[in-house]
């Protein structure tokens, strides 16, 4: 497996090997699937749409709908205006969504399609909406696509009526439906009426009913998005994915925000709960205190097995930072922390976490790839890898225990239904990480050292 990876690390400036990111449009598609009654629309070649739907289907084990402008040679020369016109008509006629969320691709960006004017000129059926976001594949990563699409919705739809709606807005960032459910449960426990945007729960984990709903129950409604401007405040989760949309809502409608790390681990969850408490009139209920207590109890029970264990953590910036924070809380050494997304803010924040816990000899890198991570691991191995499925080749090649988290996870079932956020998510991750370490301990133990009790 990966026999070709040499130990010696040499600087590469042009060649990307084994990426830890993908392109913007898939992020836009995922964000749009978190809006109720929405058809994501890919304005580009057919393959883009097909690839994005495939990777989403593989991760969530759910249908992922999206339509395509199906660019041809003609469109690439004369522009995609007629494609959008035809597409909007066909999509509303045939699939009947309430809203179409168009995102661009590298092709439509490069040929200079002006979606603003195309959409303005559309002749739409009564009550139907088309919004768009520019998501050039050659800028940033899929993470940018996600927040750009959020901003696309907000630019077109948000308003301020002057009458506060008494709600708090929560931008959960790129998480699984199980995570969003958990975040909403916490808001409920704290008695905070909240609008989660976007919200893929109920959409990308739709229950089996024996029939196929193209637009399942879940998703942020158009009304809720409109109402974002009337929210009393905003909790934006994910310091990297949440920053720009939060800033937009503040600039546009003066909605104050707090920008917090993805609530993975004890202290990050504490920060989310504190923000909810500030938005709420109630104190943290005993039930939630107990939940936190159980997590800390677990960390204590298991700390001798995790202390100073070295971890390689990789994936999207906010999830990777959250996992790093939890690993540090578990007494582990997050030896390598990488993301493919080119955001130097990531490196800065990871280094800040290292210093907060006095972890030494750790490397953080944005705009990195898994080939480089593999080389580092070859030079100085780790005890566990935590990240997306694409780490499994390295884990096999170097025989490292592997815990899956983040996007995409293509080779396991059920993970998208359960949280990694909140106290309960941290309990789940702690169980998984400790389990992976102890499974390895048992596997490698000689018969004399093989013990029933650990």
């Amino acid at each position: 497996m990966l026999d070709l990876t040499p130990r010696e690390v040499k600087e590469r400036s042009a060649l990307r090997i084994n990426p830890c990111k993908t392109c913007q449009p898939v992020g836009a598609m995922y964000a749009a699937l978190g809006v109720h009654g929405c058809m994501p629309h890919s304005h580009g070649s057919q393959g883009c749409c097909s690839y994005h739907r495939t990777v989403l289907s593989r991760h969530f084990k759910e249908p992922a709908i999206a339509s395509s402008s199906s660019f041809t040679e003609g469109a690439s020369v004369f522009g995609g205006r007629s494609n959008i016109n035809t597409a909007a008509k066909n999509v509303f006629d045939m699939y009947g969504p309430d809203i179409i969320a168009v995102h661009t691709t590298c092709l439509s960006e490069t040929i200079g399609d002006d979606l603003n004017s195309y959409i303005m000129d559309l002749d739409l059926p009564e009550g139907k909406i088309v919004v768009h976001a520019n998501t050039p594949s050659y800028v940033g990563s899929h993470v940018n696509g996600f927040f750009n699409m959020m901003m696309g919705f907000m630019n077109y739809l948000t308003q301020r009526t002057g009458t506060p709606n008494g709600k708090t807005a929560v931008f959960p960032g790129w998480l699984n439906p199980g995570d969003i459910r958990e975040l909403r449960r916490l808001a409920g426990l704290m008695d905070v009426p909240a609008t989660f945007f976007p919200d893929q729960s109920g959409v990308m984990d739709a229950p089996m009913t024996g029939r196929y709903d193209m637009y399942p129950q879940g998703g942020t409604t158009i009304e809720e998005i409109r109402g974002l401007g009337d929210c009393a405040g905003l909790i934006a989760l994910g310091e990297i994915i949440g920053a720009e949309p939060a800033e937009l809502l503040r600039k546009k409608w003066k909605v104050p925000f707090v920008l917090l790390p993805a609530p993975i681990g004890v202290s990050n969850t504490d920060q989310y709960v504190s923000a909810l408490r500030r938005a709420s009139k109630t104190e943290v209920p005993a039930e939630l205190e107990a939940e936190r207590g159980r997590l800390v109890d677990l960390l204590l029970d298991s700390h001798q097995h995790t202390y100073m264990k070295k971890a390689a953590i990789f994936g999207d910036p906010d999830v990777a930072l959250g996992l790093t924070s939890l690993a540090l809380e578990m007494g582990m050494v997050p030896k390598y922390v990488i993301t493919g997304t080119p955001k130097e803010e990531f490196t800065r924040r990871a280094n800040a976490l290292f210093s907060k816990y006095g972890a030494e000899g750790c490397t953080a890198k944005a705009n990195a790839d898994l080939f480089e991570l593999h080389q580092w691991i070859k030079n100085e191995p780790v005890d566990v890898m935590i990240g997306t499925t694409y780490g499994k080749q390295i884990a096999k090649a170097e025989d490292v225990p592997f815990v899956r988290a983040g996007f995409p996870v293509l080779d396991r079932y059920g993970g998208t239904l359960l949280p990694i956020v909140g106290y309960s998510g941290a309990i789940r991750l702690t169980e998984q990480i400790t389990g992976a370490l102890l499974d390895r301990f048992d596997r490698d133990a000689s018969d004399e050292d093989f013990e029933i009790v650990l």
Partner: protein
């Protein structure tokens, strides 16, 4: 809101037939706005070339196309694993403005400097925007060949320049470019197997059959292929074409330019497997191979049929829907379902050709719905109308089938068990059986059983 009540788009009507395929319009572009199941030109090219396991497949373009095609095809290798890595130039905004050719040349240089053993074969896939920004990929590849002495073959595959089928053709041209310098070898007794991608090791099964009846497999194009093995391909006495959609064009070029005749085969289903082995042996004109083939197929057929027979009562009365890439596979699957006593009620392909739809029509019962380039809404509508119990399809169809309460069998690159040959026919029956008879359906409202 469900879509089953929604009407079929006017433009789509000519692509659907329930009169034994009469007049299904195919081989045309998808409608803008359709939730099509189709992929693109790059995808087609990559699918065909990917199983060249010691090649460096460099995607020249923004990162997405490299990410989405990274080690997902399930085509197995007995040797090299270079192809399981993802290489790309990861073009950024500045490259779009100033051109990406220099970055591509630098990427190839970095590869040649650092990869050991030194790469001998590189494919450079130019995706959507490369032509638009004016990169001369051919010149970069020519220069790289001159500089490094490795083969560096451009595959200009912008997604918008046609359908997946166009990508197959580009891949076949790339293979011809690779084989070019090796033509003119003396012919020898043996075959190339074209259009089998060694998914779940199927190429190994087919090669094994041929070798058992004394026919050497010289090269697989492409499945478990290496530069070395491909270079021997022009010496073959016969090309055996498994996936007609992707490889007929290559077979024709090899016939015209290298004097290798070809026959069409399908190793899906017992009857097609038997017929195919006999056809290969007879086409080679070797009485010994023909006799061997008759003995071998009779024996294996007699072994497997009773095993398949056991599934028949358990599948009796079930109704199947088929939605696959190519027409030839759809035809084999219809026959295979017939062998199992299962009625095919819906047949669709992404890229089926006119003559294939005619064959499909001739195999279909009246009332069987036949459709080209279907979208989920159409699939849903027709599967429900025809009360299908199981869908055979690919990754995008699986969750749809489950949502509708249908059993499912992956006949695309997510299959983990071989579905070709005698073993494969048995696996296929097992896979169908496993999904149709799962106790999970007891918990599903309105489910299959």
């Amino acid at each position: 809101m469900g879509t089953s009540a929604l009407s079929v788009l006017e433009e789509r009507k000519s692509s659907i037939s329930n009169e034994r395929g009469r007049g299904v319009c195919c081989e045309r572009e998808s409608v803008s706005g359709a939730v099509s199941q189709r992929a693109c030109v790059y995808c087609g090219a990559r699918v065909v070339l990917n199983p060249i396991t010691d090649a460096y497949h460099i995607v020249h373009g923004p990162i997405g196309c490299a990410s989405y095609t990274w080690d997902i095809r399930g085509s197995l290798s007995s040797d090299a694993d270079v192809y399981r890595n993802s290489f790309s130039t990861d073009l950024r905004e500045t490259d779009i403005v100033f051109g990406g050719a220099r970055k591509l040349a630098a990427a190839i240089d970095e590869l040649m400097e650092k990869a050991r053993p030194a790469p001998r074969l590189i494919f450079v896939y130019a995706t959507c925007i490369v032509g638009v920004i004016g990169d001369d990929v051919e010149a970069v590849c020519r220069e790289a060949e001159r500089k490094h002495g490795a083969r560096c073959i451009p595959v200009k595959a912008p997604g918008f320049s046609g359908t997946k089928t166009q990508g197959y053709k580009l891949a076949c041209d790339a293979i011809m470019a690779l084989l070019g310098p090796h033509r003119g070898q003396p012919k020898r007794f043996g075959v190339n197997i074209l259009g089998d991608y060694n998914l779940a090791g199927e190429m190994w099964i087919i090669k094994g059959y041929l070798e058992q009846i004394g026919i050497p497999a010289i090269s697989g194009i492409t499945g478990d292929s290496t530069y070395e093995s491909l270079a021997r391909a022009p010496s073959a006495a016969l090309n055996v074409v498994q996936c007609a959609g992707s490889s007929t064009y290559l077979a024709e070029r090899m016939r015209d330019e290298m004097g290798v005749p070809w026959v069409n085969v399908s190793f899906f289903g017992v009857e097609d497997t038997v017929a195919s082995i006999l056809r290969v042996a007879d086409a080679l004109g070797s009485p010994a191979a023909s006799a061997g083939a008759r003995e071998f197929t009779a024996r294996r057929r007699a072994e497997v049929l009773p095993l398949l027979e056991r599934y028949k009562p358990r599948l009796a009365g079930k109704r199947a829907a088929i939605f696959v890439g190519g027409g030839f596979k759809a035809i084999s699957l219809m026959r295979q379902f017939k062998e199992l006593g299962v009625k095919t009620v819906v047949v669709g392909t992404q890229t089926g050709r006119k003559e294939e739809y005619e064959t499909i029509g001739s195999l279909a019962d009246s009332g069987t719905v036949i459709l080209d380039d279907a979208n989920p809404a159409e699939l849903e509508r027709f599967m429900l109308e025809t009360r299908a119990d199981i869908l055979v399809g690919g990754v995008k169809e699986r969750p749809l089938a489950y949502k509708l309460g249908l059993a499912f069998c992956d006949h695309n690159h997510e299959r983990r068990r071989p579905l070709a040959g005698f073993e494969g026919a048995l696996c296929f029956a097992e896979e169908i059986h496993k999904s149709v008879r799962s106790p999970v359906w007891r918990h599903v409202k309105g489910g299959a059983s």
